[in-house]
Every structure is written in structure tokens, then in C-alpha cells.
């Protein structure tokens, strides 16, 4: 983050942070991000954030099922049809393997997609507005843009303070 480009409202209490988010949304002030030690469901809903990752998970799962079935079919029906116990080669027991590998491919590819989208990787240096969000503080980040004058900045500061911010910082 570039210096002096953001307003940070630091909160002690998740409810106060939620109220602040509500107030800011009501005043049509764009919130860049909210940092919190644990997920705040109400904030998520108030910010009207959307995610498309469930659709991807479904796709990965469906592709996983299809490709695992393809592999099982190729290996035990086409390539090496070995009959044991009088069972058909295109066997019902494929379902168990498909079930497990569907979950596996869904989980692993979703995780990878998430890491790629969020530009995260093991050992990455964290870039936090305030290191205390890892502990017990909740931070609302508002980006200052060019047409934000003194009055508006003041208004935002007041809004944050009135909703219970313990500090309002700039960074």
C-alpha cells in the first residue's frame, strides 16, 4: 500500500465494526477491505460481496467424476478386463472410487484456484494494514481517491469514531 493513501478505522469490537460498515454503506462510501481475526458474516452480507468459487467447485467435482470414471473404464474394461468373482468389468464398485476422488479433486482444485486468485503462496510476506488484525482488532480500509476533499475525509473520520472506532489512522 502506498503511503497516505488509505484511511484505517481500527475497532475493538466486531459489532462496532459491523455498525461502521453499515453506516459507510448507507453513506455510499466505498470500502476497500475489512480485516478481521475471524469471518464476520454480517459484514460479508452488507458489503454485497459475491463469489463464484462454488460454481468452480461444482465444475471441478463434475470433471473429477467424469475423468475418474473414464480412467476406471479404460483401465478395467478396455485395457485390462480381468474378471474376478463373476462381477462385470464395468463394476458398481467404481462408485466408491469416484465418490472419493470427486471430493478430492473438488477440494484440491478449489484450494489451488483460491491461492492463485488471492496471489498467495507458501512463504509469502503478509501485507497487512495493521498487524493487530491478526490478534484482536478489526480494521476497515477506505481508499482515498483524488476527488476526496477535506470535508469528506473529516466526515469519514467522524463516522468511524462515532461507530466506536478506537483509532482512525492514515497510511
Amino acid at each position: 500500500m502506498k503511503a497516505n493513501n488509505h484511511i484505517l478505522g481500527v475497532f475493538d469490537d466486531p459489532d462496532a465494526a459491523t455498525t461502521a460498515v453499515e453506516q459507510l454503506v448507507k453513506n455510499k462510501i466505498a470500502i476497500k477491505d475489512v480485516f478481521s481475526p475471524f469471518p464476520l458474516e454480517h459484514v460479508w452480507k452488507k458489503l454485497k460481496m459475491k463469489t463464484r468459487i462454488p460454481y468452480l467447485t461444482f465444475t471441478y467435482g463434475a470433471l473429477g467424476t467424469a475423468s475418474v470414471y473414464g480412467f476406471l473404464y479404460w483401465s478395467s474394461v478396455i485395457n485390462y478386463p480381468l474378471i474376478f468373482g463373476g462381477k462385470p468389468t464395468n463394476s458398481l464398485s467404481f462408485v466408491v472410487v469416484m465418490f472419493v476422488l470427486t471430493i478430492l479433486s473438488g477440494v484440491i482444485f478449489t484450494l489451488l484456484t483460491y491461492l492463485v486468485r488471492e496471489k498467495l503462496w507458501p512463504g509469502k510476506q503478509v501485507n497487512l494494514p495493521d498487524p493487530r488484525t491478526m490478534d484482536d482488532k478489526f480494521v476497515i480500509v477506505i481508499e482515498k481517491n483524488k476527488n476526496m476533499d477535506e470535508a469528506l475525509t473529516k466526515k469519514i473520520d467522524d463516522l468511524l469514531k462515532n461507530s466506536g472506532a478506537v483509532e482512525v489512522n492514515e497510511s
Binding site: 454480517h42 452480507k45 462454488p54 461444482f58 468373482g85 463373476g86 462381477k87 458398481l92 464398485s93 462408485v95 466408491v96
Partner: protein
């Protein structure tokens, strides 16, 4: 807030007409020589609505044990469904006249059959009746106690009743967990006494919970469309449908685990059960059972918009109502009637029982205010966030 359910006289009369239709359907079977079909229908429908009532009570017990807030306003609905238990007991007593028609272990050849002779210490009428009476007394006692405590809470308020309900719910899930292992064994699995499966009861337990919670949702939505529960929003609906979605997976899992193990083991004693059901005539119902009860709700409710839409949820529950009927038909009819038969007797008796169940539920709902006004979590339930 103190609004009670009002049901018009004409609706009750229609229900009574349907109940008479049900009685006629059963009697038609007895007088036209289809005694087996009548007994099978009685067993099917008795088991159907008993498991719906017990599933509803289990659902309610889970709400109080987990101290769920969102469902606080709706607890009167499962409580009303549970009042059917007393009637279920009375109706089940009729089945004792048909034991010899239903159960092969009471047939003429049973004494010469070494397998059945071996099972006599468990499968005999005396012990069956004892189990039956003990289970029903425990269920009815706990159910009416929970209901009475909840009504007292309405009167006096405070946390005492809330804690007592929680304790009784804990007792109830233990009682149900143990008794519902034996109950489906006694009344469904022993229709084919040579066959056994250790997963049988679990499947019917899940099925009871599954369809019980589905019918709670249907009653809540219908009451909402009639103008009750005005605060019902998509948050509540999503919570309700999460139960159905989760249990559809659980049900499909149980069905498949039982089938796969028997298919893979391929032991004639075990496959006989599925062999009968995969023959011509029964096959279409056997295959449709898993599609109706698992695949349809699973794929349909996965779609987030459908999981919060009242019409879509009513359709799902409607499908599940048929689904449980098909499931129990597959358990009872191949064993008792031996050939596929769906006609006036089966449909009429189901309609009769459904009308009777509806009658009991609305009667019990209209006695007390629909919303428990002193429930400690009521505020949370009324102010659930819309999604």
C-alpha cells in the same frame, strides 16, 4: 403474536371425507379378497406417518440440544406433528390382528424352518408386543413432556423450562437412537425373516429424520402462504433446506452402502432381498427410489436460488412425500403381496392416512398460539437476517 391457526369447517369436512375414503379403501381390500394388500397398506401407512412424527420430534430435539436460535419461532409445528403419536399407537394396534397375514415367521411352515426356529427367542409375538408397547410408551411420554414443558414456558417464562426441554431432548435422542434400531427390524425387516442387513435400521432412521424435517418445512411454508409466520424470510428457508440437502446425501449414502455391500458380497442369502425387488414390475420403483429421494433433492437444492424459494421447496417436499412412500412400498409390498399392485386400496389408504395426519396437526396447531412467546431465542428467530 398470540395468533392461533384458524381452520374453516369446510376444510375439516373435506379432510373427514378423505379419512372415510381411506377407511373404505382398506375395507374394499378386505371384502374383495385382497386381504394381503390391505394389511400391507396399513403397515406401510402406519410406518410412514409414525416415522414422520418421530422425525419431526428428533428435529426439534436437535434444535433444543444445539440451542438453535433461528428455529425458535417454529417449534410449535413439530410439536403439533408429534401429537399424532398417540393416534399412531391406536392405529398400530389394528395390525396385531394381521400378524399372521404379514409375517412369515408366524406362518404354518415356520416350525419346520430351522432358521426361523433359531430366531424364535427374538421373533415371537409376546416379545414383539412388549417391545412395541415399551417403545411407544417411551416416545409418547417424552414427546408429551417436551410439548407440555414448552407450553408451560409460554405461560411462565424464564430459563427453567428451556433447560428442562433441553434435558428431555437429550434423553429422547438416546431413546430414539436405541428403539429405532429395533422398531424397523421388528416391523419391516422381519417381513422377510431369512434376510438380514445390519444397515437396515440406520437407513430408516435417516429416512424418518429426512422426511420429518421435509414435512415441517412444508407446513411452515403453507402456513406462511396463508398469512401466518409473516417474518419467514430467505434466511429461515435456507436453514430449513440445509437440513433436507444434508439428509438427502446421508440417505443416499445409507442406501448405497447397504446395496453395494450386498452386491459385492454376492451371498445368496443376502441378495435374495434385492433380487426380488429387481424383478420385472418392482424394478421401476426400485430404481426410482434412489432418484427421487437422493438425486433430485441433491442436485435441485444445490442450486442456491432454489434452496431459498418457497415454491421450489414445496415442489421438493412434494417429491419427497412420494419418495418416502416409494421407499416403504419397496420394503413392504414385495415381501407381503409378492406382485406389484398399485390401485385404489394403496392410493386411497394413503390419502386417508394423510388426511388423518393433517387433521391431527391442524387440530393441535389451532389450540395454542403459533409462536412460543417466551422462548429465550425468539428474538433471534424473528430477526433472522434475510439473504
Amino acid at each position: 403474536m398470540d395468533k392461533k391457526l384458524y381452520v374453516s369447517k369446510s376444510f375439516k369436512l373435506i379432510l373427514v371425507a378423505f379419512i372415510i375414503l381411506g377407511i373404505v379403501a382398506i375395507l374394499v381390500g378386505f371384502f374383495t379378497g385382497h386381504t394381503d394388500r390391505s394389511w400391507a397398506s396399513l403397515l406401510l401407512n402406519n410406518f410412514y406417518f409414525l416415522s414422520v412424527a418421530l422425525g419431526a420430534l428428533f428435529w426439534m430435539a436437535i434444535q433444543s440440544i444445539t440451542q438453535s436460535g433461528w428455529s425458535a419461532a417454529f417449534v410449535r409445528v413439530p410439536q403439533a406433528m408429534v401429537t399424532y403419536l398417540i393416534l399412531a399407537f391406536a392405529l398400530w394396534l389394528i395390525l396385531f390382528f394381521g400378524l399372521h397375514d404379514l409375517f412369515p415367521w408366524l406362518g404354518e411352515d415356520a416350525a419346520r424352518d430351522s432358521v426361523l426356529v433359531h430366531k424364535v427367542p427374538y421373533l415371537n409375538v409376546t416379545f414383539l408386543s412388549v417391545r412395541f408397547v415399551v417403545f411407544f410408551i417411551l416416545w409418547i411420554l417424552l414427546a408429551s413432556r417436551i410439548r407440555r414443558l414448552s407450553l408451560k414456558e409460554d405461560e411462565f417464562g424464564g430459563l427453567t423450562y428451556f433447560k428442562k426441554i433441553e434435558f428431555n431432548s437429550k434423553v429422547f435422542i438416546f431413546v430414539l437412537g436405541i428403539s429405532f434400531i429395533f422398531f424397523p427390524l421388528d416391523w419391516l425387516m422381519s417381513l422377510e425373516p431369512h434376510w438380514y442387513s445390519t444397515l437396515f435400521s440406520v437407513k430408516y432412521f435417516i429416512s424418518a429424520f429426512y422426511h420429518g424435517s421435509a414435512i415441517i418445512l412444508a407446513i411452515v411454508i403453507i402456513l406462511n402462504k396463508l398469512g401466518y409466520f409473516p417474518f419467514l424470510n430467505k434466511g429461515h428457508l435456507h436453514d430449513f433446506s440445509k437440513y433436507i440437502f444434508m439428509l438427502s446425501i446421508m440417505w443416499g449414502y445409507m442406501w448405497f452402502v447397504q446395496y453395494l455391500l450386498i452386491w459385492y458380497g454376492n451371498i445368496p442369502e443376502e441378495t435374495a432381498y434385492f433380487f426380488l425387488r429387481r424383478q420385472e414390475g418392482f424394478k421401476i420403483l426400485f430404481v426410482s427410489e434412489i432418484f427421487i429421494n437422493w438425486l433430485f433433492p441433491f442436485l435441485f437444492l444445490m442450486w442456491n436460488r432454489m434452496a431459498k424459494n418457497t415454491t421450489a421447496l414445496l415442489i421438493t417436499v412434494g417429491v419427497l412425500i412420494i419418495g418416502q412412500w416409494v421407499e416403504l412400498y419397496n420394503a413392504v409390498f414385495p415381501a407381503v403381496v409378492h406382485h406389484p399392485a398399485i390401485g385404489f386400496i394403496e392410493v386411497g389408504s394413503f390419502v386417508g392416512f394423510a388426511a388423518l395426519f393433517t387433521f391431527v396437526v391442524i387440530q393441535s396447531l389451532s389450540k395454542h398460539p403459533l409462536i412460543p412467546k417466551n422462548h429465550p431465542y425468539l428474538e433471534e428467530s424473528l430477526n433472522e437476517e434475510d439473504e
